[in-house]
Symmetry: C2
Subunit: 353 residues, 2 copies
Amino acid sequence: MSTVGVNANASKWMQGDGKESDIVISSRIRLARNLAGYSFPHLLNHEQAMQVVEKVASVFANLPGEEGKEYDMLYMQYLPSLDRQVLVEKHLISPQLAEKEEGALLLSKGEDVAIMLNEEDHLRMQCLLPGLQLEVAWQKLNKIDDMLEEKLDIAFDNQFGYLTACPTNLGTGLRASVMLHLPALVFTKQADQLFSVVNKVGMTVRGLYGEGTKAGGNMFQLSNQVTLGLTEEEILSRLNKVVMQVIEQEKQARIWLQKENDKALADRIWRAYGILTNARSISSDEMMEKCSLIRLGMDLGILPNLNSAMLNRIMVGTQPAFVQKKSVKELDPQERDWQRAEMIRKQLRGEEL
Amino acid sequence: MSTVGVNANASKWMQGDGKESDIVISSRIRLARNLAGYSFPHLLNHEQAMQVVEKVASVFANLPGEEGKEYDMLYMQYLPSLDRQVLVEKHLISPQLAEKEEGALLLSKGEDVAIMLNEEDHLRMQCLLPGLQLEVAWQKLNKIDDMLEEKLDIAFDNQFGYLTACPTNLGTGLRASVMLHLPALVFTKQADQLFSVVNKVGMTVRGLYGEGTKAGGNMFQLSNQVTLGLTEEEILSRLNKVVMQVIEQEKQARIWLQKENDKALADRIWRAYGILTNARSISSDEMMEKCSLIRLGMDLGILPNLNSAMLNRIMVGTQPAFVQKKSVKELDPQERDWQRAEMIRKQLRGEEL
């Protein structure tokens, strides 16, 4: 059980395909649900919280046929801290869940569906896919949601819709988000202005690892703010529209960069490649920054022999916990930087990690 | 005639061999001589100056047998400005000579002997060899000096020795210098202190291109200050002793760096290599800085497949005038940086420049 979810290759969202995959890294749908008859997780005692976990777990354990084998159950209390951290780095659980003794995760084999139990709500279900495919992710999660509603008593109010621990999730309980790689908008200093416009139309922009994290590697999460008063389809269609506009702006910025600043841009990209293929010590932050440049170089045809699946493996697979996971002994931050540099070199030179 | 001296491969001193060649790039002996019966160059009119040139030139033109074919004569007034600049970059003439209409250069085929005419003195003769071989250079130049004294009336005073335009060159007229690569002393911040000690024992430290230039690429010229009151052998032996001490200190500093800071040093060296093999734009200064690190890496066995002859070709052959020389059209500084980056990449990847 302990190796489930901690292999850098396994996550579907990291395959690097899907629509608009040169700019959209991944699409995520998240539904917040709670069981009727139980307080929200922060008010449950240990026993009650574990009852919630077992109720949900038994539904998945008793799914018929292939579906019954599709999900693994991971209990936070039995998972080594390092493995929990790896799940965070893969965007499969939140840092908050990793710290909760009563927390648990139902994880599909392809890691595209991840259902957190006893996070802020009883269930936080996500479907995470590569590229821009919010609708596909939504359909997949909606089916699971329908199945759950058949077998469990889900807290629902005719006026407020799905009840959630935090009122910002009331209504559909749906959060849709896309991870965007926007280096050209950052380099041309248009990103901040664009994001303030995006905020005005009811969307939120966050860093790579969600709320309050910084935008490492020019990666930004764009998501809907409003969950109440709109249908799921309206939420997705609005987000999709805004994302398409951001993509268009990023594309324009890339064209401008190449036209105005061709050589300087190529120099910057090749230098990043030179550093990642040669350095003996690399911090996470520098890795993210250089990977962003290399991804841009790949998209622009400057580094044609690379692919985004490999870049995703580097970006996620050389985060601190992953690096530690690869080592037999405890690493200090400096040793992690050495190990990371070695892992990156091997990946970029086409050797096995 | 115009291509003489402007080929980056031709200079003997750039072959990278000779004693202590991991630290001593080259050894140089210079003799200042003047013809009796003529004022020093700054007081000569054009006609007189050209008489001096022709007198000396005819001696070399009339040398018997192979020796007679050994020297090429280059007149500054007929040499394109770019070619003169290339000669400066190869350490074959001074920037001052390049600007003098009456200046000329007698240059041996191997470019180890270069005799400037009408620089500060009528004759400034240098022998430049790779590695630490002051004595060999001195013997070679001394033979030429003896030959000249047979055929020309050289200004000499029984009290002051050889007469020179500047009194600091009186006496032997000899300046001996070595070009040292001292990265470890710079990185460990010992260089300045060492140089102030070196000054106190009658030696001068200068940058890569002589007086008033900065120490690009951690290269330093160490030379004798005193030319009067000591025999040539004493001057050489004193300089040699100081050089051996500096070499020893640099070696100790390299050992210390490797012991204390092994990974950080390797990281720095490999990053330099990564940049030089990938960047699309490199300034002269950055080239020198990175080449210094790569040279150190080569000396320490971190980059074993490189050799110092190639590094010398990059270090000299990608200086501004050399880069311009390779191009059919006039380059602005930015274009030179692009061209330089390309030349360096080709060299380091083992292709033809």
